[in-house]
Symmetry: C2
């Protein structure tokens, strides 16, 4: 459905405004799918995001601040997210030997297994985008990059 129909707004102040609303709306739409899908695995999208970052580094540990830097939601409270993951034994945490302020985090076997189980589910969500081509997806990605880029140079 067009964004006009979805939010029942006929006119926008500019194509940019329509795009901004569409981006937020579509992002929410994607995230609802995820929240629903992750619920039965007793994990949140943010926790999943952390686990995936940890897998990207595995078997190397990674500091809490580096995790925070890589998250989609830069405001998330990484300390407490890791508390939750630790309670579920999906990650290990130990003080970093080189810098006693820092804390090293590693994904556990159980964490890796959970991700493995979730991979096909997540792939399926992503592939639900196949109403557009790979090339179109890449085109959007590069245009979004361009949008964010320009603002940083203000």
């Amino acid at each position: 459905m067009s964004i006009e129909t979805d939010i029942k707004q006929k006119k926008f102040r500019s194509p940019y405004q329509r795009l901004a609303l569409n981006l937020i709306y579509t992002s929410n739409w994607i995230q609802y799918q995820q929240v629903d899908g992750f619920r039965e695995h007793d994990i949140t999208s943010q926790q999943y995001n952390v686990l995936r970052i940890l897998r990207g580094q595995y078997p190397s540990p990674i500091k809490v601040s580096d995790i925070a830097e890589r998250m989609l939601d830069k405001n998330s409270n990484t300390s407490r997210l890791i508390d939750k993951l630790l309670a579920k034994k999906l990650v290990d945490r130990k003080s970093c030997p080189n810098d006693r302020r820092a804390v090293d985090v590693v994904i556990t076997e159980a964490g890796l297994e959970l991700l493995k189980k979730l991979d096909p589910v997540v792939d399926e969500w992503d592939n639900n985008m196949n109403a557009i081509t790979h090339e179109e997806a890449d085109l959007i990605s590069s245009l979004l990059d361009k949008i964010r880029e320009s603002k940083n140079n203000n």
Copy 2:
């Protein structure tokens, strides 16, 4: 900056996955701007969203459920959002004469004035997208619509 750099992830499982992450990331990025900008006006993005919906109907009233339907975040608790707006005297609320279950909401003069003050600010955010053209913005919008459309038909 490219999404690869922003979230420091070099490889994605597919162009669709990169797009999904980019959409969420960019949506968050847009919303942070808004939260910051609205703060000094003592209003949240969601409250702003409600006010804009109300202005779209002005001077007609609109039911709470109709507001909920038009919101970007379909899960928001519209009742309590309107409580907040009422407390700031930005909206009026009265029982709907035709259906005593329903509640009619109208934006007040103060609400309209606030929106008027915010319009140039919001336009400026939207126009920060001018690293891409109007045509490119419309192209993205229509591709996003296509993505959501396909899922509804599953």
